[in-house]
Symmetry: C3
Subunit: 298 residues, 3 copies
């Protein structure tokens, strides 16, 4: 049963409802939420589109319109697709002004992709850049490709499987009809070299401990100016890049490792949580998270 009253005279505590698709809600996301100023954290694990409605209704129907921005939802979990489905269901629960702000950052995908794109933008005009995203079909890679395309870069979505890469390109084009995205298969070093030909930016978004770009191939990419590797676990994704690298020049290329990008990712993550409590109608997904990172970088 909803409450009809308006804003209360005293400010209500900021409550973040952590909806996680894993059985145990992430401690990582919980600690960041606390440090970002969430005064109360309600943690839920094992959340699915089928059991989330009551949890969202409880967020919508407890505080008056003037206080609704003090309640917000975080959607997380290790499975990014499950997080996307959950976010879609959460949004369906809202109606009219009866809503709370929500951030999707399953597996850190949005904040990580945004941090990588921001790092690249420090050194390149993205509008004029050609970018190759290795493992561009994974959850972080898809988001990096989509964000780069949104910034006007020519984007090559590289994957071991051509068909998967093309599906991702199609999905990006469906969102952004003017996006310049092409699929690239990288099942061999030669194909990887071809995928990098003429690229000024490479982002490697593959699984932990898998090298996607050998050093020998990287050093042959003559136009390459920025290399960003998001894998912190050796062997890293781009040969020769160190996890700690933060704008370190190697062979004439500005390099970032996973830890080098991590500081920015954390700042964006915290800022996104803070932002949730400013209004009650925000939905922060990849683009919104990147825009927030750009504000912070100014």
């Amino acid at each position: 049963m909803a409450e009809g009253h308006g804003a209360s005279p005293m400010s209500k505590p900021k409550i973040l409802i952590q909806l996680d698709t894993d059985p145990h809600p992430s401690t990582f996301d919980a600690v960041v939420a606390v440090d970002a100023g969430a005064e109360r954290l309600l943690q839920y694990g094992g959340v699915t589109p089928d059991n989330v409605e009551g949890l969202v209704h409880g967020a919508m129907f407890t505080r008056g319109p003037g206080d609704l921005h003090q309640t917000a939802i975080f959607v997380g979990g290790s499975n990014v697709e499950a997080g996307e489905r959950l976010l879609a269901r959460v949004k369906k629960c809202f109606f009219g002004p009866m809503r709370v702000s929500v951030l999707l950052d399953a597996n850190g995908a949005n904040t990580t992709a945004a941090a990588a794109v921001l790092a690249a933008a420090k050194h390149l005009h993205l509008k004029e850049a050609t970018a190759t995203v290795l493992a561009g079909t994974g959850p972080v890679g898809q988001r990096a490709a989509r964000l780069l395309a949104g910034k006007g870069a020519k984007v090559r979505v590289a994957s071991r499987t051509q068909a998967k890469a093309e599906a991702v390109c199609a999905a990006i084009r469906a969102r952004q009809p003017s996006a310049e995205v092409t699929a690239a298969q990288i099942a061999s070093p030669d194909e990887t070299a071809a995928a990098l030909a003429g690229a000024s930016l490479v982002i490697s978004a593959g699984a932990a401990g898998v090298e996607l770009l050998p050093e020998s191939v990287r050093t042959q990419a003559k136009e390459l100016r920025v290399a960003i590797d998001l894998n912190a676990v050796p062997p890293v994704g781009i040969g020769g890049v160190q996890p700690q690298d933060k704008a370190v020049e190697r062979d004439g290329v500005v390099c970032y490792g996973a830890l080098g990008v991590g500081g920015t990712k954390m700042k964006i993550h915290r800022a996104a949580i803070e932002r949730l409590f400013q209004k009650n109608d925000l939905v922060l997904d990849a683009e919104e998270v990147l825009a927030l990172g750009e504000e912070l970088a100014r």
Copy 2:
């Protein structure tokens, strides 16, 4: 192992232990608890009479007698009968002064029934009233009937099934031997009309989206002065009543819809949480929650 010490010099934070019979503890109850001043909330889902003992013992045996009122238990969940069984088991864990206060408000049944009775009491002398409770065998309806009977009203417990209505009447009489309660079957509009004959109050406590009292039947109930509908989802329970109605006169009848009662329900809910922390030996069930609402209304 219990602690023998007395009150500590510094006041300890108010801890509310939310015991919910559903797998995910209610966010609704959690937000209300926070807004009512619970400084720490320990949330538990999937709580049953079989697994609750340790949770209650942990509440009883951790703080000294002088601080025990700073720990309290909330029993909730969507299934009111499961909540009642859980409350009974929680109370069995207590002994002597070793206890903490506990509030039952599974599915909001106690606070909703109390708010409905309070709304009626603004316009009627309940002692002289004849009240018909539609869906009087449901969790909220049973409580409304019991509370009205306790206030001296003549109560008709109306249900599609006569036997169920009679069982509820018997249960009320077992608690309150002087209660004037009768069962009424309402399997047809004619029966519903008969159940309302001479009634000055009708409370509809049925399931969401089910009309129990058609407008045409309502307007024929000539003695009716107050109509309260607790169903917010169209079609509402009483034809013609709007969910937002709060003492709105329609066809000479003062009408309340679910949202119109909701503000009072929320105030009572919050006040009940606050009350828990004043003493360590309170058990707040329907009657206690109504008494609290009456205090607030003064």
Copy 3:
């Protein structure tokens, strides 16, 4: 992805991550944590060595080195051996300076054993004492025996099963080669009497409601000076000792019951939680918890 930044200007809230091997994390441990100053409590039930890694990584990788001591882990649950296995796995997640402090107190075993040994040390020089630990193969008994041996006492580990007692002795000797521990079978009152012959201290650490030392046998133990019973549920473990006894003389023996030891146990438990937040590299198991209790007793 780890964050590289140092200490933030503002102190971050103290976060305790409660990892419990039971389905529902203990309310007892939660309330004590709150009262000990944990500003935020993240509760997790059903934690096993197989699912704990991500939870520990989230604790390690969210705050900078200067703030890591503001995050800590508590390992609890009713099964002490499960807690020990969980602690071992938690410690394996740490590397170099990337770690947080952790306290093991599954079933209160460490704080209870430490409190019992501290009670004994008030009345005896443990170095010169001969101590019999009844149920010395149980989780609390093993820890009491190990702690007493560490203090130089001659320890008899008494159990209904000789082989189990010998296994515990072997385990203690493996840790402390100079430990003077012997196994004693107590399958009959005569064996119990023999196990107590010449002992100045007896600690009974058996299950609730089981008498291990009948009063008639106790009063025959002529050298006995201190008797400590850790079972609060009648019949208690040592005949004639009352749960509330705290240094009460009975038949010339200084007696402690479970509640008499409980106040000290609680103080140690709280102090151990507080201690966690002073550094980020503490592992508080039995010996460290006892050392902390000794500091408090000074």
